[in-house]
């Protein structure tokens, strides 16, 4: 099995080609059935999701880091790096929302409202994606571990302790 895994760089190409090809096939089907789409609007939604996702993830990790800080920990670079990433992500998201890219809102209240909706939607998507991954990999694990196999001889060895 090892030789097949190591020997085939093209194997990974097949795996990624399947993923990308299938994603494109679903998109093309949805495009064909809908009739018309606005690529610039879709791109701006992707960008808004990216900066908001970056800001929220970095904020969450920053909270975890600050809560876990102790005397022996070297955390200055980690805190500064995550604060920059969080600030950058959330500022860009606010700027995009205010400018009407992907969503439209005016004033601080409007930006916060749109950010709240976007963050909730991202959590929703994350939950759905994790559920799907858990289902597929859980099923794969159950199937793979179900194969009959020879008993491990190491399990029969006795302990050397008295």
């Amino acid at each position: 099995m090892m030789s097949r895994m190591v020997g085939g760089k093209s194997s990974w190409r097949w795996v990624f080609s399947t993923l990308i090809g299938l994603a494109i096939a679903i998109d093309v089907t949805a495009w064909y059935l809908r009739g018309e789409i606005d690529p610039s609007s879709i791109l701006s939604r992707v960008l808004l999701g990216l900066v908001l996702g970056l800001g929220l993830t970095a904020s969450g990790l920053l909270l975890v880091t600050i809560s876990a800080v102790h005397r022996e920990m070297r955390a200055v670079e980690q805190i500064i790096g995550l604060a920059i990433a969080a600030g950058l992500g959330l500022s860009l998201a606010g700027w995009m929302i205010e400018g009407g890219i992907g969503a439209s809102a005016s004033g601080m209240d409007g930006i916060l409202e749109e950010s709240r909706i976007g963050a909730a939607m991202l959590l929703n998507g994350l939950f759905a994606g994790l559920t799907a991954a858990g289902l597929v990999f859980g099923l794969l694990l159950a199937l793979v571990t179900g194969r009959p196999m020879e008993k491990d001889p190491l399990l029969d060895l006795e302990s050397t302790e008295d």
Binding site: M1, R4, M5, G8, S11, W14, T18, L19, A23, I26, T29, A30, L33, R34, I42, R45, V46, L48, G49, L50, V51, L52, G53, L54, G55, T57, L61, L63, V64, I66, S67, A68, H70, A75, E77, L82, A85, I117, A119, A120, M121, L122, N124, G125, L126, F127, A128, G129, T131, A133, G134, L135, F137, G138, L139, L140, A142, T145, G146, D152
Partner: protein, 273 residues
């Protein structure tokens, strides 16, 4: 906010939903501290308080059309099938021939039945009239986005995992076949929703959800990866800037003698030196 609101519920989403999520991050940080640290001891109470606040908020804002309530409604709506599938996977895994399988062997088919039932349960929710929390407004968008993301993810992950199993593994045709079946069923449901719609949402509604929400969620996933990359990069920079440790002076004669004594004492227990 009145006292009554505080006693019987938390109407503000910032206090009732986002604050507990932030506190859960703080609890995760506390959990990473040393066992002797006092913060470690308040991890569990903090996590419990956060979850209870979320539950109280979810209960007190029922019926309104807030996006946080819709998210909780969607999560609660699929909690049953998700738990069923999770337990099914665990039952099937731990009742197999693996040496760490403490469950009776006869339970294995029931594990797979539970997984299939969970998937079928999600499918049947699309054939029924949804409850109030998912019928319209943000609840409908949240629920349909969950379904769309779940089905698309299952199709992509199952097909990729099946190809991976076929190419990388040996004699994995059964595994690949099962995964392709799951992916195929999910793809069939996805195509059905795109062409015929469901009880509560038309086909064009599902296509709107696909083109408006999935790009946003895809971007969010990339943002999540970028956030984790930012963490890795900052840790790397921190480690690179760590000064070289001071040169340790060589052992004194007393220390050498003591170490030799300890080594002799322990090695002599086994009768050899």
């Amino acid at each position: 906010m009145t006292t009554t609101a505080w006693v019987f519920g938390i109407p503000d989403p910032w206090v009732g939903f986002w604050l507990p999520l932030g506190l859960l991050c703080v609890a995760a940080g506390f959990w990473l501290t040393d066992a002797e640290d006092i913060r470690r001891r308040i991890t569990l109470p903090l996590a419990v308080v956060s979850v209870l606040t979320l539950a109280v908020y979810g209960g007190s804002t029922r019926g309104s059309d807030l996006v946080e309530t819709s998210l909780l409604g969607a999560a609660l709506g699929v909690a049953g099938p998700v738990i069923l599938m999770l337990v099914g996977c665990l039952v099937a895994t731990f009742s197999g021939p693996a040496p760490v399988g403490p469950l009776p062997k006869g339970l294995r088919p029931f594990g797979f039945i539970m997984v299939s039932a969970g998937l079928a349960w999600i499918g049947t929710t699309l054939l029924q009239e949804p409850p109030g929390s998912r019928a319209n407004g943000s609840g409908e968008i949240m629920w349909s986005t969950w379904v769309m993301t779940f089905l698309s993810s299952v199709v992509l992950i199952a097909a990729t995992a099946a190809v991976f199993a076929l190419i990388m593994g040996e004699r994995r045709k059964l595994e690949a076949g099962v995964l392709l079946s799951v992916g195929g069923v999910s793809g069939g449901i996805l195509l059905y929703l795109f062409t015929n719609g469901s009880v509560d949402l038309t086909a064009s509604g599902w296509l709107d959800v696909y083109w408006e929400q999935l790009p946003f969620i895809t971007g969010g996933l990339l943002g999540l990866i970028a956030g984790v990359a930012a963490l890795i990069l900052s840790v790397y920079i921190g480690e690179k800037r760590t000064p070289e440790p001071d040169i340790v002076p060589p052992l004194s004669e007393d220390e050498r003698t003591r170490i030799t004594e300890i080594l002799r004492e322990h090695l002599e227990v086994g009768g050899e030196e």
